[in-house]
Symmetry: C2
Subunit: 733 residues, 2 copies
């Protein structure tokens, strides 16, 4: 039978590259292997049963292929999305079972699409600069091409040559032509939408034996290698796999990258696509997984949606394909276990078997501190994830000094985020969006994404004069990035990153040093955050801590605006923040403790001669209730040069056996700035009744240069950019 | 050895009831059984390892027994709490291992308590009407007596007679005397604090062979049976096990009930305490477990703390003791599995073994609809839990028409709460309290518990003229309860409860009928809520829906107070609610859709000729940030007689396999009130484009009486209190 089908395929082939099919998602040998194992391994069996049930519900039914009308979330949108999924899934079922009813289901749907697609002009709800035809935006049409292309490949042997022609020319060609001709500018962008478009055109090329499509997908619409899949692999990742739109978007883009690469690996193994650029596709997946919280949520840099985790379909596919092409990878097992499903591939089978054989799978990915460079060459700033602790007790401080990150980037230079105890503690708001909810602007990004979430004040970094970095101009922000001065994140006692930003504001330079310090005798790390603002002219500086939790205490009195709330400001995100309370602080240290999930967090701050502090909550000027009612703690100072020194503590434990709380109070009694000038910033923190001395050299990487500082009448000498001692004993070794 | 110790005990016994010890938590035979099984069954082994580790950390150390000074959350409070736990746990370890180091640890601590306790007057932080001595309130001293009493019993054989005397007279007698003499009024209350006090005195009585203590514990300080443990068993539970302070307080009270009953069962088996009052102790535990959410949280009636679940220690003890005394109970297995630990008892061993032997344990307790009566005789109103759906898809509507529930009760007559999809959807705020957090008023109830959370506006029931039920007077509320008119909760299609309240307001009567209807073709139940207000005089009525979720849409325009917030009112809870938006509605139906955890909920309402609607959020007049920033949706009408008809829909699904949303829109197109008078309320809801007719008879239980109503020119005739048809087909069979 196999041989006959193959012979027929050869006989009727009209293009040069006719191959045996299926040959995109998996080939016959691989499907035979899957089939052979279904009853032999638990997770595969369950995943197969779920797939079968989802497809069988539609067997023998006449599937609606409606004329496109609705935006995202609406009927026609969701129906077409369900349809391309169903075609792909039914195609899988056909190859596993050999039951022709599945192939018939797919064929009948394809014939409807072949009739519909050639009649389509731009979608009536198209508001995007890259309008779609089946969907409101071209991105969704690209999704269709990817899944429908895979589905076609899966039933290609079942079709007559006439049917093949009908479908190729009806269901695919108008879309491919539209992308590569009408939308060629969009198709040739280096951007996650274009990755989908290339993958769609390329997979359709492989499925329909069309070398022209494959070439455009690989090298751009003009095939000159200035665009296309390889240009994406070169341009969207740094050498260590950081994706320039951030981990949430890696999650989304990883599917077309892996689907197309997997298809190329079947159809054109000589390309060795998974080895390309020193295995950049492997690094991309691992890089994104490194940037997840214990619950699997991708860190919310840029326009992220917080409830997307590595259990989403895209990552299930990527993990299983990774396992197949790069070999078994034990660190992926905890993720595969939480994903709780595998795909119908050799990798899926192998992961399922490995889970059967593993007596105990660790609860979490083996997270460790990690630095990512940004930019294709790795010379455009980066992101550091500084970690401390193990298991549920993992603390992750993210320090971002990367490029803007294209259209979904935020004005967040030198921002920090904090995750601890499995929770988000100091947040980036992410995107303002109710994905898939038609009533909320068709599930698209809401205006507050740009107006609030992307603005600097929504981040744990400094806003100058109530204006966002680069005055909120994407084109300017896109051109620049901070400079990392020095870092060390592979040390046990003291991990540090210092970066410098001199373009975000015309006449203010910003330098931030973040130390994560394991102090002897303390069970949790102490975060020391030194933020220097340098300017010859007078400015207003706002440093917010966008905390999540309940206000527990402050060490100062504040005024509560308890009977009348007003917004904090008028624009650049400030207009959304209600002022709930405010305080004026002298030169003394201010302390604020909040509670999140039975654990305490205290921010102790000094910022020179005076500060004003605001407790805010979101919701002002938000008539459509688009924003979460999240709080912030804003420290405002005014002056020319100003330095914020913040000690951020994690403290408190709760024993479930004895139901006893401990460590409810801050261990920071005082913070003194001993020196703060062009040479050094020297800070003394009274921590657990003993002095912690931190000295940061205020210049780029000092290498082995020797410095001296006079402390309590004694000269301290050290080499390199920083010096930390506690209780008069050196820590940074 | 056992015999020798026994002989010594007999020899030196100074009271009449000298018995073999241990004989309170468990006896020698039971501990031998536990020891024998530790390596044989997984959960027991793990629980033992955890216990051992928690105790071994203190072995050989000099344990601090500080002079009482701090309120809850402070050092001396938490230390004494840790101490009594440690004494009990070390006593368990002694009996399992026979290692005298554990007994020595306990003895040394007891000797310190024996020296300290006689010196104590009232605690310096005592603000309660029942002040404590070791702790700020006597309740915590009672906790000490319970655990220390058990601990003493566990090491009694190890002690010399002199040591026994020293400890009995030093560590116990002053506390027992204080409770039963100085605080005898408090000791003789029928209240959860007094349950602890009785259990403490009784367990100490058993441990020290003091019949006098046992008698006072059983029958009250004057031993006349007007108070004490048996009076609690009679007075705090309804005949079907409903605890009159609500399930959250059952959780807390269940431990002294079970600890003392378990001790009595060992020392005085002839009492048959677990059989008492038709097994009221068994019913009490099951009754509380029936009132939990899928995540194990007890329903938040009254002053509940929402994060307390059935995994708390109290319930672990109760479940394991239940299993031992009442026999294996399969419905407890899912709970034991989630608890993930067992106690060092015969019941603990047996549950652990049962879990080993069970291939698959259901994910959830087998929840079903259930009605509880309130009051010792079951004639003081009650609480109904109307359920629909299975597993994660369980919907639970709670309708409360019970008594006030003592000092932690709320002014919440005819309140409803809704849980669905594992989440709280229409909430009772619970208590305003940060338990165990010293900075928040020593972890005690915060003032907003009384000022907001207990007030009527914090509940999903009607507030008249901005005054709470019974004008917020506990003494008045305590005397009264609504009357259930009729109910049926064991039906598949239509479940209903109607109750009537005529005392909460002087000249307004309230009648509420709640129907949970399974409409043919719909995947989720429809809740129809008819709330009638009857008065001869003009009033303002506020019906809030204290929803949890995000505002998605309304079918009307509203004004957003987007640049300036003011509170909704001045007192009775209103002063804490910011007015975020408001609308005026004519006689047409208003619709409000919100989103919680990927599921939609729509409240469609009509309320006569006009209504005013407010969107509010908590936080006004809350300078200490004690309140969560939770929203509410308040429908206000004015008039004499007024009827609210609300259709509450659960709708929308999200497929994780296909990532497709469906059912985002309400299926209710209109609600018409066809008749609303002393005879009937007849309502027609256009639901999924077909008419649903609901008729409620506006009088108490009608039995088999026949009624007739003319609908669309056709006479409908039925027997009983209600009639529901959909698409012209009768549903309520």
């Amino acid at each position: 039978m196999k041989k006959i089908l193959f012979a027929i395929a050869i006989l009727f082939a009209t293009t040069l590259v006719a191959q045996q099919h299926p040959n995109a998602f998996a080939n016959k040998q691989e499907f035979a292997f899957v089939k052979d194992n279904i009853t032999k391994t638990a997770l595969l069996q369950q995943s197969y049963a779920d797939l079968k049930a989802s497809v069988d519900a539609w067997l023998g039914k006449d599937i609606d292929v409606p004329v496109p009308k609705d935006p995202a979330g609406g009927y026609t949108h969701e129906k077409h999305k369900a349809n391309y999924n169903l075609m792909f899934h039914a195609g899988l079922m056909y190859n596993i079972t050999g039951d022709a009813r599945y192939a018939l289901l797919v064929k009948n749907m394809f014939l409807k699409y072949a009739a519909l697609v050639p009649t389509l002009a731009n979608h009536p709800e198209a508001t995007s600069s890259s309008p779609g035809r089946i969907f409101w935006q071209a991105l969704n049409d690209a999704n269709y091409l990817v899944y429908a292309g895979l589905a076609y490949d899966l039933i290609q042997p079942y079709l007559t040559e006439v049917e093949r022609k009908t479908i190729s020319e009806g269901a695919f060609k108008p879309e491919v032509d539209y992308f590569t001709k009408d939308l060629s500018k969009w198709f040739d962008l280096i951007h996650n939408h274009a990755v989908w478009a290339c993958a769609g055109v390329g997979i359709v090329g492989i499925a329909t034996d069309n070398q022209d499509y494959i070439d455009m997908a690989l090298y751009g619409s003009s095939k000159d290698k200035s665009a296309g899949f390889l240009a994406h692999l070169n341009g969207l990742f740094s050498p260590d796999g950081y994706y320039n739109e951030g981990p949430y978007y890696t999650r989304y883009a990883v599917l077309p990258f892996y689907f197309f690469a997997n298809a190329l690996n079947h159809a054109k193994p000589e390309l060795k696509i998974f080895q390309y650029r020193d295995q950049i596709l492997g690094k991309a997946l691992k890089g994104a997984l490194e940037q997840t919280n214990l619950d699997g949520a991708f860190y919310s840099y840029n326009d992220a949606i917080k409830d997307k985790t590595y259990t989403s379909n895209e990552v299930v596919y990527a993990v299983d394909i990774y396992w197949q092409v790069y070999g078994a990878s034990a660190d992926l097992l905890p993720i595969a276990k939480v994903q709780d499903r595998v795909i119908m591939s050799k990798g899926g089978v192998e992961i399922s078997k490995k889970l059967d054989d593993s007596k105990s799978v660790p609860a979490y990915y083996p997270y460790k501190s990690i630095e990512f460079t940004d930019g294709p060459k790795g010379d455009e700033g980066g992101v550091a994830v500084i970690r401390s602790g193990k298991g549920k007790n993992l603390t992750s401080l993210i320090y971002k000094y990367s490029t803007h990150g294209l259209s979904h980037g935020h004005y967040d230079k030198l921002n920090i985020n904090l995750y601890d105890n499995g929770n988000e503690i100091l947040q980036d708001y992410g995107a303002v969006r109710f994905i898939g909810i038609e009533q909320k602007y068709g599930g698209r990004y809401l205006p507050q994404t740009k107006d609030y979430a992307q603005q600097t004040i929504a981040h744990n970094t400094v806003t100058v004069d109530e204006k966002s970095h680069f005055n909120g101009k994407e084109s300017e922000s896109q051109k620049n990035h901070p400079t990392k001065w020095y870092s060390k994140v592979d040390s046990t006692n003291v991990q540090v990153v210092t970066a410098f930003e001199d373009k975000a504001y015309k006449d203010v330079n910003m330098q931030r040093s973040v130390f994560v310090i394991k102090v002897p005798g303390a069970s949790k790390p102490l975060i020391l955050d030194i933020f220097r603002l340098l300017s010859a002219t007078e400015h207003q500086y706002d440093l917010p801590f966008n905390y999540l939790g309940y206000v527990i205490s402050t060490n100062y009195k504040y005024e509560s605006y308890k009977a009348n709330l007003k917004p904090l400001g008028k624009k650049n995100g400030y207009q959304f923040m209600w002022k709930e309370a405010g305080a004026r602080i002298g030169k003394e240290m201010s302390q604020f403790t909040f509670l999140n999930d039975k654990r305490f967090y205290t921010v102790s701050s000094v910022s020179g001669d005076s500060a004003e502090i605001f407790f805010t909550v979101l919701g002002a000027n938000d008539p459509d209730f688009n924003l979460r009612r999240d709080p912030s703690y804003v420290i405002r100072t005014k002056g020319t040069n100003k330095t914020y020194v913040n000690a951020i503590e994690i403290h408190g434990d709760y024993s479930t056996i004895n139901e006893v709380a401990s460590g409810a109070y801050s261990a920071v009694a005082d913070i003194k700035v001993l020196q703060d000038d062009a040479a050094f910033t020297a800070v003394e923190v009274s921590y657990n009744s003993k002095p912690l001395l931190a000295i940061s050299v205020n210049s780029p990487a000092a290498g082995d240069k020797t410095f001296t500082y006079n402390y309590n009448g004694k000269a301290i000498t050290w080499k390199g950019n920083y010096y930390i001692q506690y209780d008069n004993k050196l820590l940074n070794k």
